[in-house]
Symmetry: C2
């Protein structure tokens, strides 16, 4: 079911109330394009390649022609959109193929395949779907999956016991505890118990600290922000010296995305629920990463002409015309912003597919590090 707190900027949808705590960030109802929006230019700031560029991730193989031709159904593009669409589905497919090649090489050379353990507590439908998708993605590239399903009323100690077992299992190179955990458990205690060397989610504070510090590198970069950066890299977006705005400051996306942009020498500003006039600061950005979880928050009038827009939001909005009664939209009003930006990710088909691809990448990296395989 779509939440009733979400808004929509499509011409067919009605605007809805936002909760009070988000009032500062609430967009005005958008049935038509605001008159304050700058006139859309036809010249993007960034020159996007016709197809994603050759991979820049360390240790990854080059893109196959077959994959390049395989781009399918990303987002529907308005006829008057001028932004180049960043095809996350295609890039994720490329990366998975590159990972499969690396894993085959590793297996041939040292007889080891990477292993990923997932711990799922409870029976939330969405969590079960995520875990199933992760398992399928692992199988497709040759990563061995380990799975533990615990009942909702399990104790914290039971979860910790399984983490300890995986920590000491040499065939497991990555451990992932599916969130959210049941309310009676302490997320911090549980996530901190995962060995820093197998924390493929990159959520451990030691990883975040190393990410924040100059001259240090984390063992793992959190998957979604890593996916955002990979999209920027593969589409040839220059980051050094550019102004970047990250909207949202969550521990899992916004904050690490800002640290990554900063490490890549962008000048970074973080916009959040206490920011006054977020549109003014966002309009200065050459690169925008929106990760706030508010449907269609970022409007055309927020965007610098030609900017690169990465939309992390996946928000359900009511849609009586859809068979499910709702559809998924991002934090960015695609209809408006695609007419002004130079590059934009669609929702779905943008950042979404990258998260699992980056999890596979982190698991492979971990196995290579542990086995000193280059």
């Amino acid at each position: 079911m779509a939440s009733s707190i979400l808004s929509d900027c499509s011409s067919s949808a009605t605007s809805r109330l936002l909760p009070l705590r988000r009032a500062l960030l609430a967009p005005a109802p958008c049935r038509f394009r605001p008159t304050t929006a700058p006139a859309p230019p036809r010249r993007p700031l960034f020159v996007a390649a016709q197809l994603p560029l050759l991979p820049r991730t360390r240790g990854m193989a080059s893109v196959s022609a077959a994959t390049a031709a395989a781009s399918t159904d990303s987002a529907t593009v308005s006829a008057d959109a001028c932004a180049k669409i960043i095809d996350g589905k295609l890039v994720a497919k490329q990366i998975s193929e590159e990972i499969a090649v690396e894993i085959a090489k590793m297996k041939d050379a040292i007889g080891v395949v990477p292993g990923l353990a997932v711990i799922l507590v409870g029976s939330r439908k969405d969590s079960q779907t995520y875990v199933r998708n992760k398992k399928k993605a692992c199988e497709a590239v040759g990563i061995k999956s380990y799975e533990v399903n615990l009942p909702e009323d399990s104790s914290e100690d039971e979860v910790l016991k399984h983490i300890a077992t995986f920590n000491s299992d040499p065939s497991v190179h990555g451990i992932l505890v599916q969130l959210p955990l049941p309310h009676h458990m302490n997320d911090e205690n549980i996530l901190n118990a995962v060995s820093i060397e197998k924390d493929v989610d990159g959520f451990h504070p030691l990883n975040i600290g190393r990410l924040a510090m100059q001259g240090r590198d984390p063992f793992f970069v959190p998957c979604t922000p890593k996916g955002c950066m990979e999209l920027l890299h593969r589409y040839g977006v220059e980051i050094k010296g550019k102004r970047a705005v990250v909207i949202g400051r969550s521990n899992i996306v916004g904050m690490p995305a800002a640290l990554l942009l900063q490490k890549a020498n962008a000048t970074v500003s973080i916009v959040h629920s206490n920011t006054k006039k977020p549109e003014e600061i966002t309009r200065q950005a050459d690169i925008v990463i929106a990760a706030v979880g508010v449907a269609n928050l970022v409007r055309g009038s927020w965007i610098k002409p030609g900017a690169a827009i990465i939309d992390v939001g996946i928000n359900p909005v009511d849609d009586p015309e859809s068979p499910r009664g709702y559809r998924l939209v991002g934090d960015v009003c695609y209809e408006e912003v695609s007419k002004i930006a130079g590059l934009i990710t669609p929702v779905p088909g943008g950042v979404g597919p990258m998260t699992i691809a980056m999890l596979l990448s982190n698991t492979l990296e971990s196995a290579k590090r542990i086995h000193k395989f280059k």
Copy 2:
């Protein structure tokens, strides 16, 4: 001796060349006020109290009337300056008095005094002076000092052995390794060996990670950025919802200062050597923390009228009129900026005295946490 790479914005000094890597950030020679500077208003954005406000640091006692009256020689103020001067020397003195009261109470109640261990390797004159000053400051408030002096050619193992001894010594609550270490030593290995519970410098990546994350708190906040925040708090500067710019992104000041401002709900941007037009973004800030180590970089034309300016820089510039042949200036051109800002720290007498005060505060905090004393 003053470095020849530094520039000066006073009317009596000559401008000097900046190194190439800092060219983007290099100020133009400033013998007169640039014509692009906005006209200085007489209305500060922030209403500063006549004396520092009552302390807001947790667990600190209130300011004494005697201390409040004891403000002495901070910076020389131009006759036409309109900014309120933030008196770091006075605030540091207040805080030290508050700490002394707390320590006396703790000793009476549980018979424990906080202990701070300092490890000094080599015989650098500046390091010896810092360590001597820290020892004196500890004695003044009742913190017990432990000191180890090792010769320049000591091995990393010798340093690690002393750290291990202090880690397990229950009378030591804070451990500080004086930087810089000799070149043959690995700073990261040595700093990481300090127990996270005694890392009063707050430089451990785990502490930085906790500082970056929402819903987590570090064991210790690095002393200089903590001092900057304390000055803002005690002078009644509202942070939530304000635009803040941090100039510089070092691990020990700029980066943690940005994380602290962000935790206090400012909208933070970080300006660094790759930032284009740093003056444009700085001019949007209600709060500026300058920590880049370039004399007089921040000019009047960079500042929003009425902004609060915290200048962390301590840079020597040649001054034939001074008995030492040089004098100390900040990263901010005080002469120009004090006419435009609402609040400003002088150099010396601003942030400098706060760093040691915060080290004492962290050591007391540590002892209270270890002994569960409230």
